[in-house]
């Protein structure tokens, strides 16, 4: 059914369907409105629409009573088939799945971009049954978890600290809870995430490998909801609703684990071990929808402690974002945001005899202004971002009192670690341009700067020894690096089902984590580039080909990438990265290369759907002072990675989800020989990363049973049962070599593995 359709010489045909995101049902008489044309269309009884408009880029609104209005900006300069999935305000349980993939995915002019919807995240069976953004990210082609259970991941052979993880514009320095078994992202609260593997849009920078851009969703503007879940170890609850109907909404959410309650069952007493986190978002939008103001916050803490001696280790993030979106017109949007992010860990001991205290922070204060301007075939983006960083590894203070007995005075001892301050700025400008009907060209430049600011003490090194120590007073800009980061890309839309994309991007990273371990731990030390350490630079080229079949039911893609790294860091042998004021003396830097191929096959619809992806890659480094300056495998080099995700959805109330992963083992070094010292066998190692851990693989299964779909019922629920590592593969977490105590003439290898099969059950509800 056509309403106010305009037909001109350069008009294009837009047709498709509007559906319920939850169950795929057509939404009859849904309205599609194009404000720029003051025109629109209404879908027919089967939810289908079909209209013609002049070619151009438009903001679209898709509305249906009882559903969230969808706002999309689409470039409609050729005939398009669109699918709009709307989310019912009454049943948002399964979340939002943003799809009109047939066109959108082919047309986005980015190589290696993946969108993760809340629903897709929820489908993946996970450890302990908690849907988790970062665990889902680890299933994407080219992305591999760093070690069992960890939230850390390596993108195309890069290190975990080369990933920029954002929650509502605020960088999250440690996205882990419970040492990585959970991430800080509460799936009831986020609105999905976009993952960029190297081809970063201009507004992002500061990391070499990837950006995970996650946003918290806005509270419902019309109705109140309570969403929650109860799992074996974790409970979560979200409340949202209007403060002023249609204009002002709130959302608050909290999670808390209770595994500490089970510890006494294992005869572990006096131990504190839990985490909690909270999200909140206030959203205000103007009546004419030209302005939107949001204030969002996150805070979480992990606590591990023992009641004896009041020992406690505690870590967590805080993030705050204030954003203002303003539509000067439908073609000109401004986003202004200000953020504060703080990652903190502290350790403490307190007794009558002595105290120990260590409190470390990594803090960012930032602001960004971003403009998006659409003019015919051009989409111009420009903006400015500025972040003030404070790196505070914390002083370690120990007080010992006379009551200890062995000293006759109170002793206070303190290990001072230098703080660093820096200002990171970037200005960017770029254009996304359609050339004819078949080509999209993007080009842009990001100019970045990184200034070290006093009050800092900087140690200078010569041959690994401190040669000079300089103090720069407060406020003094004592060193600045400049970076020019060009980013270009070309997409060729061969036809409506096929595209070929090519891109080049330079990214620069001015801050890194002192971490030479594979699994990550909360005691992160981030440290900046400074006069003694150059910023890391990555130049990446990528080529991607994508082909869709059967109206987008099947998607296939293949991508090739090559990345050249400069000033990439590693650590010398026996480096002490924690509590070391001479940290920069432990760093070695050189060059690196990473290249690979990622193939994926997806079925997006049907009773049996899912994906299969395979990555073949290589990642190496060449660093003076490591392995005699010869090329060696980077610590995250995994030549083969295979991921299979399978969803069996025979009925709206039942679904079964399986995932199977296979990774080559991580590089490591094993003993190549031994020396006998005092009768003990001391390993003699070969070169760094010259051996490999055994391959990693596991299968996870989940089954979800849902409430009967009923639009008249407000209360919906689902019950998920799952099993992580179903066939109980013993994946080694670490391997050590030992002399047999029974038979000292024999030695053997011993592994520690973290998980056998781990079952889970979770109940989720929404009202």
């Amino acid at each position: 059914m056509r309403v106010q359709a305009q037909t001109t010489a350069t008009s294009v045909r837009v047709h498709g369907i509007v559906r319920d995101a939850a169950n795929g049902e057509a939404l009859p008489q849904a309205a599609i409105w194009i404000p720029a044309l003051q025109s629109g269309a209404v879908a027919d009884a089967q939810g289908k629409f079909d209209f013609r408009i002049p070619a151009g880029t438009y903001a679209l609104e898709v509305r249906f009573l009882g559903y969230e209005t969808r706002h999309d900006t689409l470039r409609l300069n050729r005939d398009r088939v669109l699918t709009f999935d709307l989310v019912g305000t009454a049943r948002q349980l399964s979340g939002v799945e943003i799809k009109s993939r047939q066109s959108q995915q082919l047309r986005n002019n980015i190589v290696g971009m993946e969108q993760l919807s809340v629903a897709a995240i929820k489908k993946l069976p996970t450890l302990l049954g908690e849907a988790d953004l970062l665990k889902s990210v680890q299933f994407l082609p080219g992305i591999i978890m760093t070690s069992e259970g960890s939230s850390g991941f390596s993108v195309r052979g890069g290190s975990p600290d080369q990933n920029f993880i954002l929650l509502d514009h605020a960088p999250i320095y440690n996205p882990s809870h419970a040492l990585g078994f959970f991430s800080i992202f509460n799936n009831d609260v986020i609105d999905g995430a976009t993952v960029y593997k190297g081809d970063m849009p201009l507004q992002f920078g500061g990391r070499l490998s990837s950006v995970i851009d996650a946003t918290m969703r806005e509270g419902d503007y019309h109705r109140y909801h309570v969403t929650g879940g109860i799992g074996l170890l974790l409970t979560r609850l979200t409340v949202e609703g209007p403060i002023v109907n249609d204009l002002f909404s709130f959302l608050v959410a909290g999670r808390r684990t209770y595994f500490d309650a089970f510890l006494p069952m294992f005869d572990i007493k006096g131990v504190k071990l839990y985490f909690y986190d909270a999200n909140a978002k206030l959203s205000f939008r103007s009546r004419n929808r030209k302005d939107k103001l949001t204030l969002s916050g996150y805070m979480g803490r992990d606590v591990a402690g023992m009641s004896v001696m009041h020992a406690v280790a505690d870590y967590g993030n805080k993030a705050l974002d204030l954003s203002w979106h303003h539509f000067f017109s439908d073609d000109f949007v401004m986003t202004v945001s200000g953020i504060i992010s703080d990652y903190r860990y502290l350790m403490g001991l307190e007794s009558e005899m002595f105290t120990l205290d260590w409190d470390a922070h990594t803090t960012d204060y930032g602001g960004q202004v971003d403009f998006l301007y659409t003019l015919g075939k051009h989409t111009l983006r420009f903006g400015l971002t500025s972040t003030y960083h404070i790196y505070d590894p914390g002083d370690v203070t120990v007080n010992m009192f006379e009551s200890m007995g062995f000293i006759d005075t109170n002793v206070s001892w303190s290990y001072t670690q230098e703080r660093f301050h820096a200002l990171e700025n970037a200005f960017y400008i770029g254009n996304d341009q359609a050339i004819g009907d078949h080509f999209l060209l993007k080009y842009g430049l990001r100019l970045s700067s990184f200034s070290n600011i006093g009050a800092d003490s900087v140690y200078y090194y010569r041959n690994g020894e401190v040669s000079e120590a300089l103090y720069y007073p407060e406020g003094r800009f004592y060193h600045t690096y400049w970076g020019i980061e060009p980013r270009v890309g070309l997409s060729w839309l061969i036809d409506s089902t096929m595209s070929l994309k090519l891109n080049y991007a330079r990214t620069m990273q001015y801050t890194q984590m002192a971490q030479n371990s594979t699994s990550g731990n909360p005691l992160d030390v981030w440290f900046p580039a400074n006069p003694t350490l150059l910023p890391q630079i990555a130049d990446q080229g990528a080529l991607g080909f994508e082909k869709h079949f059967k109206d987008g039911e099947w998607e296939t893609s293949i991508e090739f990438y090559y990345r050249y790294l400069q000033n990439v860091v590693d650590f010398k042998d026996h480096a002490i990265v924690l509590g070391n004021r001479y940290l920069y003396g432990e760093v070695r830097s050189g060059t690196g290369q990473a290249y690979g191929m990622e193939v994926s096959l997806k079925r997006t619809r049907g009773i049996v759907n899912g994906s299969l992806s395979y990555t073949l890659s290589k990642s190496t480094r060449r660093i003076e002072g490591v392995n005699r300056g010869e090329t060696y495998p980077s610590p995250y080099d995994r030549p083969h990675a295979l991921t299979v995700l399978l969803n069996i959805e025979p009925h709206p109330r039942h679904s079964i989800n399986l995932n199977w992963v296979f990774y080559s083992g991580l590089p490591t070094n094993f003993p190549h020989g031994k020396a006998v010292i005092d009768g003990e066998w001391v390993p003699i190692y070969g070169d760094r990363n010259s051996d490999r851990m055994p391959n990693y693989h596991r299968l996870d299964i989940g089954y979800t049973f849902r409430a009967k779909p009923d639009p008249n019922r407000r209360f919906t629920w689902d019950l998920s049962v799952g099993c992580y590592n179903v066939y109980a593969r013993k994946n080694p977490w670490t391997i050590s070599f030992k002399q047999d105590p029974e038979n000292p003439g024999r030695s053997y290898a011993e592994m520690i593995y973290l998980f056998s099969a781990v079952p889970s059950i979770t109940f989720n509800f929404r009202w």
């Binding site: 350790m347 190549h672 190692y685 000292p744």
Partner: protein, 299 residues
């Protein structure tokens, strides 16, 4: 049996975190891992010079493949070994009954502050038919000596990390002046003449971060619990030995201990070879250290 303490704040934090994680979920199992081998053997040196007036020992052997069983033919015989202190040369001779073990011809005591050099010559460690020479040097540290020990019966005394008031036993405390400079100590203990931790890899490392320049009056150094492997009784004699070692040697011992303990992916980087002080690619250490002892009979 014995409370091993390391007053290293950072290690403590690691232990707390790692312990909590592993205690809850992890399992340990033997696994088959093929190792690359066949590298040319290198010379392994264990040379020690102390302030005791004794015939000092230098042990020479070859490295071998990791899984290869130990055998006597790893000993390196026929080497020329001597130590100089700038003026005097102390020659070493191989013990006829102990291949690869070289002892100084004369008994002598190393002197504090003196710079010693070790020479090992006429050795073909890699069996390529050509002999090699190796050297190392070390300066004997200055050190204090233990004044006395004290034995106290009761629960474990601080700074034992987790004192359990229910668990009784003997605390061994020591008294000594800690010199103002930074020192590195290794300690071991013997009971009724039997040394409990004769191996370097089992000795307790201590740094004086917290006690530099202080008089240590009764620091608990060992705890023998009644329900432990080695309960003590009245009449037992306990002797504590403290070595004041160089920073390099402390690092080497730490490396050895790390190499023998399972590495934790959370904290360990890539394992790397223990840092020795010998030239020519030999593995091992020429250590000079002071030794001081104190004993007590439990009453």
């Amino acid at each position: 049996m014995v409370t091993m303490r390391k007053i290293r704040n950072i290690r403590y934090g690691r232990a707390l975190l790692t312990g909590l994680v592993l205690g809850l979920t992890a399992c340990t199992e033997e696994i088959d891992i093929d190792l690359k081998g066949g590298d040319a053997p290198v010379l392994v040196v264990d040379a020690r010079l102390t302030t005791d007036s004794i015939r000092h020992t230098v042990r020479l052997s070859r490295s071998s493949d990791y899984y290869a069983p130990t055998s006597a033919d790893l000993a390196v015989s026929g080497a020329t070994v001597y130590i100089t202190d700038g003026g005097h040369r102390y020659d070493f001779a191989e013990e006829p009954a102990e291949p690869g073990v070289y002892r100084s011809l004369e008994a002598f005591a190393g002197r504090m502050g003196v710079h010693y050099e070790l020479f090992i010559q006429d050795v073909d460690a890699d069996r390529d038919g050509q002999t090699e020479s190796y050297t190392a040097e070390s300066t004997m540290p200055f050190a204090n000596s233990i004044d006395s020990l004290q034995a106290v019966y009761g629960p474990a005394l601080p700074p034992a990390i987790v004192p359990d008031p229910e668990r009784m036993g003997w605390n061994i405390l020591f008294y000594a002046q800690d010199p103002p400079q930074k020192d590195y100590y290794l300690t071991t203990v013997s009971v009724n003449g039997v040394t409990l931790f004769p191996e370097l890899t089992e000795m307790t490392r201590m740094s004086d971060d917290f006690t530099q320049g202080l008089y240590i009056s009764g620091l608990q150094i060992y705890f023998f619990a009644d329900d432990g492997e080695l309960p003590l009784a009245i009449g037992d004699s306990v002797c504590v030995e403290i070595w004041d070692v160089t920073h390099d040697f402390d690092e080497y011992v730490s490396d050895l201990q790390d190499a023998l303990n399972p590495s934790m992916p959370m904290f360990g980087g890539s394992p790397a070879n223990a840092r020795g002080n010998l030239s020519g690619g030999a593995f091992g250490f020429f250590a000079t250290y002071t030794v001081s002892r104190a004993g007590i009979v439990l009453k």
